[in-house]
Subunit: 341 residues, 2 copies
DNA sequence: TTGAAAGCGCTAACAG
DNA sequence: CTGTTAGCGCTTTCAA
């Protein structure tokens, strides 16, 4: 089945391809009658111009990409949702690249995306969330910026000067800690997250500071890191609860681990928040799905995606958007935190 | 910053572009020494060929697309995960198109994807899940099949003869019903799902049949449809529980609504499964995140995505894959179902 | 208001 | 083993 081109249309309409192109893009005046015949023929053949050819010429593809570590973690679909909505308005479609936290897969995608000439890249998680990103990994994306605009969401690369959108996670952790202190808790723990990620370290640091402000400390035995999964949170919480002396409240690196923590608490016969309070982070849809509903810190996740696309769009259009946009998190108090009974 | 092309490489290496192309694609023998110089120059300039130009010529883009209604519903990320994994192996990247259940958005994407010359499309939800799909919507995708291979996942279009991968949802619903009957339940309800979707109707029909087999029926007051969300499930369940006579078990159209149902049951002071059993569908990660853990029907969600890509790949390569692949669901018994106490 | 023609960057005969 | 050349399907000057 021969695919039909602008030439076929032109021939059938007895005009030149230039004229067809003009009606296609409304890029110059065309006599109404010719326009009409051309449109009729286009309609008749259901002709759709080849975007590849156009992109080759115009050096823009109307495509942006999102690289993220784990689409099954509900935080990321929320970001995507926000991003896609504004991208669509602006005429972009989306490549989605799931890296499963594998750096080599990130590299692979980075290279593919350049070949495919995407107009921009939104990068989340993975290497940009490492407290100590290996220089070659870092360099790779910095290099790439010379060819395609990149914005980092909730991450950073040392000395890169890249555009960034991120939540003030330290402020969020402080908020959550303050909340527990206000409830009268003095023995507070922290669980979850891969040790080498900034998202983990930033929160731990903020919790410690806030506790210190109030003359409290974070006991070593109550600080456990691992990963970001439900099962991970559950294991860590079990470790903590198996100890003789237990905290009365636990902060978690995200909602997943918080849910794991809730499960562990139940397994230990504890009631929430009567015996122990648990606070999550991210305010994913999960947090209202669980019982008791989770007190958590909202990142305004959709907004993160929206701003990422908007920033990208500005870079692409040659404006000079802010290098950094920092979103203020909010505490969302639900039923998993309270006073001891 | 001029982007560098195959011509620049050729000139610098004192060879023709053909030769450079050959080493790029390893498509014909090239003298080792020339190959080496060329590679060195490519390396030096970090040259990456323009995939648009290549695609234009070869008429293949190495890109496939997934159209789905709601990436924040955890069922879909699971499908995507499976699909992406096998797509990557085969050298495809993914467009992700979130339609928010809006048919016009589906149409819009369908058209964009054709313009961008994707090699194939995987379609989930939306119009292909309607018991009564308007002919024009149906026709649109059937027409498109003439230009790009499409496979439908968990859906269908009447008289389309399109390739399909789907779960035997009827079998799944029957399995779940049988499970409840085995536990001694005789008063069983069903909630959730948009009324006009096959995923809802197929399940209802299967539940009725299975009940009938056992001399039981599905009371009208215990059959409520609405949407697929947690909040929706909660509302519907509340309606049921507000009645004088309550069922002892409820089947739900998916895990989201099941979780809503659990919440409603708790709000009514019921214990699960002591007072009432609740069964979900899909076996999303949610089902183990909730307490009590959800008895549900597993769809083997990753597999759905994997098979979709494999089928697409075969169509693209001119093989003739099976028109239909039907996956058998499995019952996963957890803690939300049991005998009355 | 329209047409001719020169590319965009690459691949693939075809010839040598 | 290598070079020449003709496109892939479109947009965009430049002339008319």
């Amino acid at each position: 089945m021969k695919t039909i081109t602008i030439y076929d249309i032109a021939r059938e309409a007895n005009v030149s391809v230039a004229t067809v192109s003009r009606v296609l893009n409304d890029t110059a005046p065309v006599k109404a009658s010719t326009r009409e015949t051309i449109n009729k023929i286009i309609e008749k053949h259901q002709f759709q111009p080849n975007a590849l050819a156009r992109s080759l010429l115009k050096k823009e593809t109307g495509t942006i990409a999102m690289i993220l570590p784990d689409i099954t973690n509900p935080f990321f679909p929320e970001v995507f949702w926000g991003a896609e909505n504004v991208a669509r308005e602006k005429g972009y479609s989306f490549f989605l690249c799931n890296t499963a936290g594998d750096y080599s897969r990130e590299s692979e995608y980075l290279s593919i995306l350049r070949e495919k000439r995407v107009d921009g890249i939104i990068f989340l998680g993975g290497r940009i969330n490492l407290t100590n990103c290996p220089p070659d990994l870092s360099q790779e994306v910095i290099e790439l910026t010379r060819h395609v605009p990149i914005v980092l969401v909730n991450g950073n690369l040392p000395k890169s000067g890249l555009h960034r959108i991120y939540t003030d996670e330290a402020a969020g952790a402080a908020l959550a800690t303050q909340h527990l202190i206000d409830l009268g808790h003095k023995e507070i723990g922290f669980i979850g997250g891969m040790d080498e990620t900034t998202t983990t370290q930033v929160k731990i640091k903020a919790v410690k500071m806030k506790l210190k402000e109030h003359g409290l400390g974070l006991r070593k035995e109550w600080l456990r890191t691992g990963d970001f999964s439900v099962q991970g949170g559950r294991n860590l919480m079990n470790q903590i609860l198996d100890q003789e002396h237990r905290p009365t409240a636990v902060l978690c690196v995200n909602d997943f681990t918080a849910i794991g923590a809730i499960k562990a608490a139940f397994e230990h016969g504890l009631s929430i928040p009567g015996d122990i309070s648990i606070v999550g982070f991210d305010d994913t849809p999960l947090s209202t799905a669980v019982i008791p509903e989770l007190t958590t810190v909202s990142q305004n996740t959709n907004k993160l995606g929206e701003l990422a696309v908007e920033t990208l769009h500005q870079i692409i259009n040659g404006s000079n958007p802010k290098k950094q946009i920092i979103l203020k998190p909010e505490l969302v108090v639900r039923s998993s935190s309270g006073t001891l009974v």
